[in-house]
């Protein structure tokens, strides 16, 4: 057993393009880029993967991949993270077709507006990304996500989404077949997780505080767990435990 773990750790340390046995199915916070968008330099997705692997049993890819919407490999995993400060350019027909294939396999897309300002006012990406998703999934309508949704208790018990900013409104989502497939956020989650090369936090938080940073990490882990376990925590066997813990949380605690 120890020998096996050592082998795997040794392999993880090697610079590899292909992933080792047991890591192919690890959580990959894949960054989606569209049109002429350039790959973001944020370390947020990598931090997301690191926090997941340190805090939970879930394996994660510490070097998250980047995939273009026009690339057929968009269907190679169940999760995509699409974030930008700029307005999203109109999707090409190839990009729309690829995204539809991704959704048809049950994939989950997290759209996060990293241009949201300190007052919670969304940037141009929020509206433009909604417009483009409406072209990809024209038959669907975003709905507000209830605080009771399993997304807020896949690992941590949370009350509302927090990132670099605290959202004034809840997440909106597109659900298909009973599962969340698109999450619309304006909290700049990757911004809250990103660190500088020196190890400090890349962006200050609004309103601020370590509690908010911790809640952002917890939300990122819950999203990852939702991708890997779907509605596992909705299973009846968990219900009595989680109901008791919910009632013990102090009023006003996120």
């Amino acid at each position: 057993m120890i020998r096996v773990r050592l082998v795997i750790l040794a392999l993880l340390s090697l610079p590899r393009v292909a992933h080792a046995f047991g890591e192919e199915g690890a959580f990959d916070p894949r960054v989606l880029i569209t049109g002429a968008q350039t790959p973001p330099k944020s370390t947020g997705p990598a931090r997301w993967a690191l926090e997941l692997s340190q805090r939970t049993s879930a394996p994660a890819r510490l070097q998250p991949s980047v995939v273009r919407a026009s690339d057929p490999k968009i269907v190679d995993g169940p999760f995509l993270y699409w974030s930008s400060r700029e307005a999203a350019a109109p999707l090409t027909s190839t990009e729309i077709a690829n995204l539809r294939r991704f959704f048809s396999l049950g994939g989950v897309l997290f759209i996060d507006d990293s241009g949201v300002n300190e007052n919670g006012q969304p940037g141009p990406f929020a509206a433009s990304s909604r417009r483009e998703i409406a072209r990809v999934l024209p038959e669907t309508t975003p709905i507000a996500l209830s605080p009771d949704h399993v997304l807020f208790r896949t690992f941590y018990l949370l009350r509302k989404p927090m990132g670099r900013v605290v959202s004034a409104s809840p997440f909106e989502v597109i659900m298909r077949g009973g599962n969340v497939q698109v999450i619309f956020g304006s909290i700049d989650l990757a911004g809250a997780l990103a660190r500088t090369a020196m190890g400090g936090w890349e962006s200050p938080l609004t309103p601020g505080g370590e509690m908010q940073r911790e809640q952002a990490v917890r939300l990122a882990i819950n999203i990852a767990m939702y991708v890997l376990c779907t509605n596992y925590k909705d299973d009846q066997v968990h219900a009595p435990f989680l109901m008791r813990r919910r009632t013990r949380l102090p009023f006003g605690m996120p």
Partner: protein, 745 residues
């Protein structure tokens, strides 16, 4: 149907009116004669003289006139008498083999048949046997055993067949039986019997073989649904009885499930209180394992019981699952785990219980327990108390050691051997990596695991699995192959698996890695383990069938088809079995047939079937029977088997299929050994027939008269028509003269 055998012929001759006259002419002539005589009588009162002459000439004139109209002819012919058709229905059921003293009921039946035949020489007699379904021609000269082996005595079916037959209907039917009929039942009313015989419109006579009931205690009836749902209580009503010279009070009854993996399991027991020789008890059975099961019901008979065979009955019960109850345990959440859970949750026929290890002791969540949505992993509860309630267990990338599963591995192995299903899905913490090598659980996997201290757990080289011949041919993966067209995705590594366990089959193998014996390493293997089944999938990349270009092109249907086949085979879904075995009603001590059906193939293939006992004599040496599958089917004759429960196992394309069956000495026909002459008497009375005991056949049975048939018929005129006309004219003229002489006009 035998050809009519005519009796000796007779030459006969008689007069008749001309055949060219219609029937009404005779009536018209008779009416005219009557009217003319009446008028003659009236006129005679007005005559002056010669009254006698007028009367005589008048009558002669009328006679001559009638003869002129009728123009008589002489008909001569040769007449043949055909005997009435009498059909004898002789009871050929197994109850006729019961002994009445030193002779069997069949002996009495055969003697009665002989005596009746000698008294019915003027009839066309045909003898048929009745039992199950339509009657069959009586096998003349056959040994007694062959004429008393039918599993039922369905007289109603025999009578309905005769009624609907297009052949000549018999003029009388004679039934020879002990009266203990399957149908009509003992409770049939007179109205029911009348309705049964009314369509035939012939008398049904009956001859009863005996009135004497043997000294016997027996299970007379077991009433239950032929199918049950696993884990759901099944009510069973059992009737017991005593007859003959035997004393019965309370009788103990026990119900046991016959198992091929060990001793019979007691399901229920109770005591029936007999009043006037009859008692009943209701038991509730709960069968946990799906498929065809055999339940044995047995009584402990009182002293003096002379028939032991009906103290034990075997009842086949088909057990289905309302839903497949599945326990899915994963050591850590991955995309592979997600894919399998998503598929299992999407199937409404699966009742899924899931436990994923989301946090190990080494993980630091930076939170108190109350801030986490985690619950303790109830390993003891799941793998001890609730284990029997699951139909299958899926262990996916799960390490046995940290979570206390190790202590439950012996129980988990027993669960598989006694009929449970097990799937171990690959990952760093599966197979050798999960600490399973050398444990009892390793003994129920279809592959061997290296338990040496330096054993390597995984091979990290990327590869594409190869299909084996068995994998390409098995119905388990046929739907999967049809979707993906045999193209398998590249895997990033594999668990190191050993050689196949005896009886297991590899469906995929590694292209380069070899086992210690030099064979290609299994990647996907299936195997029968005792009464259960297990699957080893030594990769964690099956999810690539869903999230990949291949998955996108196939709509992820390949992933679903793979798991449908594997889970279906694990649960013995007939669609995924390599073959289907059926055993036709087995009678203890007599040859029976076993049929094997496979997916259609034109190739001839030899097959060997192992027959083993699963009841109290389970240690008996198994029997091997051989056959050949032609065009997807084989019919194999089984040698005479003693009464008991059996399992038939056949191996085809490496995969084993099996079927439980039972052979009974008496069956339903020996359940109630009392004869029932009163039922035969009621049937005869309802149809207008007579009833006789076999000892009284010489008193005779009223038989219908023969039918007369005329042959070589000749018609000759007695006199030419002109002569009849002339005679009539002369007679009328003489009458006219006599009238004139008498003063009449």
């Amino acid at each position: 149907m035998p050809p009519p055998s005519p009796l000796p012929s007779l030459n006969v001759s008689h007069l008749a009116i001309s055949p060219d006259l219609p029937d009404f002419v005779a009536f018209l002539a008779a009416a005219l004669v009557a009217i003319s005589l009446a008028l003659l009588a009236v006129e005679l009162r007005r005559r002056e003289r010669d009254g006698a002459l007028i009367l005589v000439t008048g009558i002669l004139a009328l006679v001559a006139l009638c003869l002129a109209i009728a123009r008589p002819v002489r008909i001569s012919a040769r007449e043949i008498q055909i005997g009435a058709r009498v059909l004898v229905l002789a009871d050929a059921s197994r109850s006729m083999a019961l002994m009445d003293g030193k002779q069997s009921r069949a002996d009495v039946r055969d003697r009665a048949l002989k005596e009746f035949a000698s008294n019915a020489r003027d009839t066309r007699l045909s003898v048929m046997s009745f039992g199950e379904g339509a009657p069959h021609p009586w096998p003349t000269g056959a040994p007694m055993a062959s004429t008393s082996r039918e599993r039922q005595s369905d007289l109603s079916a025999a009578l309905r067949t005769i009624e609907k037959s297009p052949e000549e209907r018999p003029d009388a039917i004679v039934v020879v039986s002990d009266g203990r009929l399957t149908d009509p039942p003992e409770t049939a009313t007179r109205e029911t019997l009348s309705a049964l015989v009314s369509g035939l419109k012939v008398p049904i006579h009956s001859i009863a073989t005996t009135r004497v009931a043997p000294a016997d205690a027996s299970i007379r009836a077991i009433r239950t649904a032929g199918a049950a749902v696993a884990h759901v209580p099944l009510p069973v009503h059992i009737e017991v009885g005593c007859a003959g010279d035997i004393e019965c009070g309370d009788i103990n009854i026990i119900a046991r499930e016959l198992r091929d993996d060990g001793a019979p399991a007691v399901l229920a027991s109770g005591t029936a209180h007999l009043v006037k020789g009859v008692g009943a008890i209701d038991l509730t059975l709960t069968l946990d394992r799906a498929g065809n099961r055999i339940v044995e019901f047995a009584i402990k008979p009182p002293k003096g019981d002379t028939i032991a065979e009906n103290n034990r009955r075997f009842v086949p019960i088909h057990v289905t699952r309302e839903r497949i109850r599945l326990l899915h345990v994963a050591g850590r959440p991955t995309v592979d785990v997600r894919a399998l859970r998503q598929w299992l949750k999407s199937d409404a026929s699966i009742d899924l219980v899931t436990f994923f290890i989301l946090r190990t002791p080494a993980d630091d969540p930076h939170a108190t327990q109350d801030e986490l949505a985690l619950i303790p992993f109830p390993v003891d509860e799941l793998f001890s108390d609730h284990l029997p309630s699951f139909d299958a267990i899926v262990l996916q990338d799960f390490d046995a050691l940290p979570y206390g599963l190790e202590q439950h591995l012996p129980g988990l192995a027993r669960y598989v051997r006694s009929g449970g299903g097990l799937i171990m899905v690959g990952g760093p913490d599966s197979f050798v990596g999960g600490g399973y090598a050398g444990t009892p659980l390793a003994d129920v996997l279809p592959v061997l695991l290296d338990k040496s201290p330096g054993a390597v757990a995984v091979d990290i080289a990327a590869f594409t699995p190869n299909w084996t011949d068995e994998g390409a041919a098995t119905p388990v993966l046929a739907p999967f192959r049809a979707i993906i067209e045999s193209e398998l995705p590249t895997m990033t590594g594999a668990n190191i698996l050993g050689d196949l366990r005896p009886g297991a089959v590899a469906l995929w193998t590694h292209p380069s890695h070899r086992t210690s014996s030099g064979k290609s390493m299994p990647v996907l293997a299936i195997g029968d383990i005792g009464a259960g089944r297990s699957i080893a999938l030594g990769v964690d990349g099956a999810w690539a069938l869903e999230y990949s270009l291949l998955g996108s092109q196939t709509g992820a249907r390949g992933y679903g088809a793979l798991w449908s086949g594997l889970l279906g085979w694990l649960m013995r879904d007939p669609r995924y079995e390599s073959a289907q075995i059926e055993v036709g009603g087995c009678i203890a001590g007599a040859k029976s047939t076993l049929r094997i059906r496979t997916a259609a193939t034109t190739e001839s293939q030899a097959i060997v079937v192992d027959i083993s006992r699963i009841d109290a004599n389970a240690g008996d040496t198994p029997i091997k029977v051989e056959g050949a599958i032609e065009h997807g089917s084989a019919l194999i004759e089984l040698p005479p088997l003693p009464s008991g429960g059996y399992i038939a196992k056949a191996k085809l394309n490496g995969a084993t299929t099996r079927q439980l069956f039972a052979c009974e000495a008496g069956g339903d026909e020996w359940a109630d050994t009392r004869p029932d002459p009163e039922r035969l008497k009621a049937i005869s009375e309802a149809s207008g027939g007579v009833f006789r005991m076999a000892s009284d056949v010489t008193r005779g049975i009223p038989l219908p008269a023969p039918t007369v048939i005329s042959q070589e018929r000749r018609v000759t005129a007695v006199a030419p028509p002109w002569l009849w006309g002339a005679l009539a004219a002369i007679a009328l003229g003489a009458h006219w003269i006599a009238r004139r002489r008498g003063g009449l006009s």
